[in-house]
Symmetry: C2
Subunit: 305 residues, 2 copies
């Protein structure tokens, strides 16, 4: 089935200027435009854990497998270059399943000009696994790591949070373009993408940067789906709690120097809103500011893998 699938796939892979050598040899060759360094990330989706094929089409599973990897590249401020994709396919209907996965992958790869540089495909008696490795380039710029935040930075976020399980987690646009536009026009000290949950991913930044964060939780942009979940009594949580903890929003959290943060919020240079939700502070931990000028601790809850 692999040979037939590779034939099918090759016909659908347009030539890509960065793909110096594509599917069909022992390995693929990717060209880089910038300095000789590459950013590499890998995320895997497992049937029954990350998705159920009873609930989700293979096209959306394929799309998501690529999108979460592109979101990681965005969080590094990297330009996507290429991906390799490994599929462990349930034997029954393997070819059709592989094709439908790619029918979700290819349009997104095309949208972000990402070269599909091969991978591996096997069939078996087990459930579906799709493992994607994405490679990006920095074009001479420093990466946006989690460890660069300093006290006094503003905490900015793109988009809205919460209720992702109602559909956003399958349909989101990775913030590749947004990260690149911000890093080119403004100074950005640290960044990550929200997969585990807004608080938990912010906690990753403050841990890596050895600092703390104070949030004005009233400013956290709440998605309509978070309000819907709260109205339905989902997990007995408020809409804000959904926004802070649900995860899979795949928005960016950015630590930005005060001056640049003011400009970004005033300019609103992206298609998606950028909102200031707090500040990086000396010390450690996550804190919610109250109106009296005090603060109380926030639990970094979210989706723990």
């Amino acid at each position: 089935m692999e040979a037939e699938f590779l034939r099918w796939l090759r016909e659908r892979l347009p030539p890509h200027p960065r793909l110096k050598l594509g599917v069909g040899d022992d390995a693929a060759i990717l060209g880089f435009a910038g300095e000789p360094a590459c950013v590499v990330t890998s995320d895997m989706l497992q049937q029954g854990v990350d998705f159920r094929l009873e609930d989700v089409s293979p096209e959306l599973v394929g799309r998501k497998a690529l999108a979460v990897n592109l979101s990681d590249l965005a969080a590094m401020g990297a330009w996507p270059v290429g991906v390799v994709i490994s599929l462990a396919l349930p034997r029954a209907n393997a070819l059709s399943l592989a094709q439908r996965l790619y029918l979700g992958i290819l349009p997104l790869a095309d949208q972000f000009a990402v070269a599909v540089a091969g991978g591996d495909t096997g069939t078996w008696e087990g459930p579906l696994v799709i493992s994607v490795t994405a490679i990006g380039e920095l074009r001479g710029q420093p990466p946006l790591t989690r460890s660069g935040a300093v006290a006094g930075d503003a905490i900015l976020v793109t988009g809205e949070f919460g209720g992702s399980l109602l559909g956003h987690h399958l349909q989101f646009t990775p913030r590749v373009q947004e990260a690149i536009e911000l890093r080119q026009a403004y100074s950005v000290h640290a960044a990550t993408d929200v997969s585990d949950g807004l608080l938990l991913d912010l906690w990753h930044i403050v841990q890596a940067s050895r600092c703390g964060a104070e949030l004005d939780t009233a400013r956290v942009p709440i998605a309509a789906d978070a309000i819907r979940l709260a109205a339905e009594g989902h997990r007995q949580q408020t809409a804000l709690e959904h926004a802070l903890g649900d995860g899979e929003d795949f928005e960016l959290i950015l630590a930005v120097p005060e001056k640049d943060a003011k400009r970004i919020v005033a300019d609103q240079p992206l298609e998606v809103p950028v909102t200031r939700i707090g500040e990086i502070v000396a010390g450690s931990g996550l804190w919610q500011r109250d109106r009296a000028g005090g603060r109380r601790p926030l639990e970094p809850r979210g989706y723990e893998h």
Copy 2:
């Protein structure tokens, strides 16, 4: 379990000069010494398909998952730089299994100075999947593809063939160093590694190069394990048939201009023997030469994925 495993792993990953940013951020960053292009390959091993944990230790499974990827880099004439590794782990005993896989991976990574640049780890009810993506560099040299063979080239092979299932397929040394040494001192037109079988992988070269190959099958180096299998009546095949078709030898097949081939065979510059087994010819197909100067077709049989 992933957090605990990552802590365990991080303590065992030595600093690597090429790993500009390692495990723990949204992605890893690999530095390249050569021109801005990288070679990327991905191979996945599936429990019950590629191995059975009843027969093989997790350490050997981990080692093999890395080794087959390094063999693909060798087949491209690339220097290994880094790998990312995704694991789908059966929930029972997942941590211990992940650790034992890495106890097989890390010594081989160290032997070839390969940076382990992260990956993804998940647990589930399904069988074990280990997917490795390896990234290599060309240091300004052209890649050794399958498509560069021309009529008149000699066909050289490293090592011996057949009977790999008796143990070699788990213990082999990827021919990374050998490929680099050959390409640096001699002209090499085309190369591949033998995973599917000597004939089938040679057939990949002649197909990609739009030519044919004539073999003197009496010269094919036969491994002792191929002789053992034949003596045991395994599949009613001769030792030569095992050598031509078994696969997973992970030796190199090289198409080399006559003059360089003569030098290589005379010099024997590698620790492993290099043997001339035939010539690339105009036309197409695989042929066995007979003593009368005639030829008869060889079936490109081997392990079809």
